[in-house]
């Protein structure tokens, strides 16, 4: 079991109808590793600036996350500022300062190169490919991307897709990638572009897994308190790949369980701002909510007299 994430470590300033936080811990690699480390051993490759408050990552170290691939370089840490309205499904980006992330060039150390499973966070598809070129023999590659790369780096993304086992995107991204409004057709089109499986993240509406010719749907957990949806997608990815690495399997049944695990971990993340809920989350709590998902979607077969 070994899992690598390559992505951002950031300082976020976030406003939602339920509060406001300035310069708190964020970034895809951060949410991913905090989530996945509940289930398996994770290595992080990323970059921060000289101003980064390193002790904020101590809780990851305590969970066994290998941060030796997190470079510190001169300059400032990546910053993102965003706002959510009552429709918590969509963030309005107020400001993005790439800072040291602008010239990020992922370098994998020996342990990272040997990782069996890799999550390529939302970075330039050219950099995602660089990661794969350094990887020795990954058994499973999962990649995120976004509207900006789909339009501005389309050739690079199309070159990457045949090397991707699980493409993990949201509704609008898969629609844009495929040029197709129907999400099922769009996911199938992404498969024809090379991705073996596609997970479409749909925020508060759950996630759709399309693998082979089959579909699986996991709802989002119906929460009475959602404070900050930032990081839900990367937490989903962390739960998803963390479980696959723990199970050491990636057959259809495992992918289904991983999709629910992704929804489970993400449901905790959004209960608090930043990584506050993930900091002290236990695997026992996670397992309990995973089981609650079974109850959430359970229904009996129809009796024979109907039909």
């Amino acid at each position: 079991m070994s899992l690598l994430v390559v992505g951002s470590v950031a300082l976020d300033s976030v406003e939602t109808p339920f509060g406001k936080r300035d310069e708190v811990l964020g970034g895809s690699a951060t949410y991913f590793s905090a989530s996945a480390s509940l289930l398996t051993r994770v290595s992080v490759v990323g970059v921060v600036g000289e101003d980064f408050p390193a002790p904020q990552l101590d809780f990851l170290r305590h969970r066994g996350v290998d941060l030796s691939g997190l470079e510190k370089v001169s300059g400032k840490t990546f910053r993102w500022k965003g706002r959510y309205g009552f429709d918590l499904n969509a963030a309005e980006t107020l400001d993005t300062q790439l800072n040291v992330f602008e010239h990020f060039s992922p370098r994998l150390g020996p342990a990272a190169r040997a990782a069996e499973r890799i999550f390529l966070g939302n970075i330039d598809p050219g950099l995602q490919m660089q990661v794969l070129e350094q990887a020795e023999r990954p058994r499973l590659v999962c990649a995120d991307t976004m509207n900006y790369w789909i339009s501005s780096r389309r050739p690079q993304l199309l070159e990457l897709l045949p090397r991707v086992d699980v493409l993990m995107v949201n509704d609008s991204e898969v629609r844009q990638l495929a040029g197709e409004s129907n999400v099922v057709k769009a996911a199938q089109a992404a498969q024809r572009m090379g991705a073996r499986s596609v997970v479409v993240k749909r925020g508060e509406y759950g996630a759709l897994l399309v693998t082979g010719g089959h579909s699986f749907y996991s709802p989002a957990y119906p929460l009475a308190d959602v404070r900050d949806p930032t990081g839900a997608g990367d937490s989903f990815a962390g739960g998803f790949l963390g479980l696959l690495d723990r199970l050491d399997r990636a057959d259809a049944a495992a992918l289904r369980q991983a999709t629910v695990m992704g929804s489970t971990v993400a449901s905790f993340t959004v209960e608090r701002f930043s990584l506050d809920r993930l900091r002290d989350l236990s695997l026992a709590e996670v397992r309990q909510r995973f089981d609650a998902f079974r109850q959430l979607v359970h229904f009996d077969e129809l009796p024979d007299h109907v039909g």
Copy 2:
């Protein structure tokens, strides 16, 4: 087993990215009875004008729908004109002509008064109450409503809710009713207003059932071809109540099955314009897709070593 629907019978003009139809069969009572009649015996109470093309309802008669409560009065039939963009979740209403529906006053005949289960389609809550006052001993009442009534007839709606077993609304309606953006909290608030259970319809994202202190989520069936979402909500209601009437039960397990049956029938409706898909739909096809829903949401328990 006996099921009554009170609602509109209409002529719809609809445009979606996949086509356009003028003055085709529509209306809540029409979609509801076409759906529910696959499962049980349905009576319709409604009104049409002199211009209504009665033979278009022959397929309902052939399915045993009792149309004796569908009055024909002088004047024109209710007409609705709407358009959907690629986001098929929201219709833009271009024109509404209430016509004979404006002075609709539901009158229940002997069979309708004796109905065991009642669906109150989306009409003035004052009229919905008139229906209940004529009903003799309904064992289950399900009501739809909409933003217009929630704001303009709020006192009448609040008077109705304690007599409603299942309130069936969409996301924005339950949010508006409760003055609460979180859907789970909003549904719980509707329960405190008197509805025993709440079904929140979420279009292509499925449906959430809140009953007692429990939640159940049914996804929408992931369809590669959706042509016209008109009538999905009323088809959902028809499948839902049709199954409850057929099962002659309304415990939590039956409500879960009914929610899936609602999603199942609605998934057929949206595959074609108007009631075209419902006309020749068979219960065998419905049962097959119901079973496919089980596969769609099935996942295995976690092995013991995780947790």
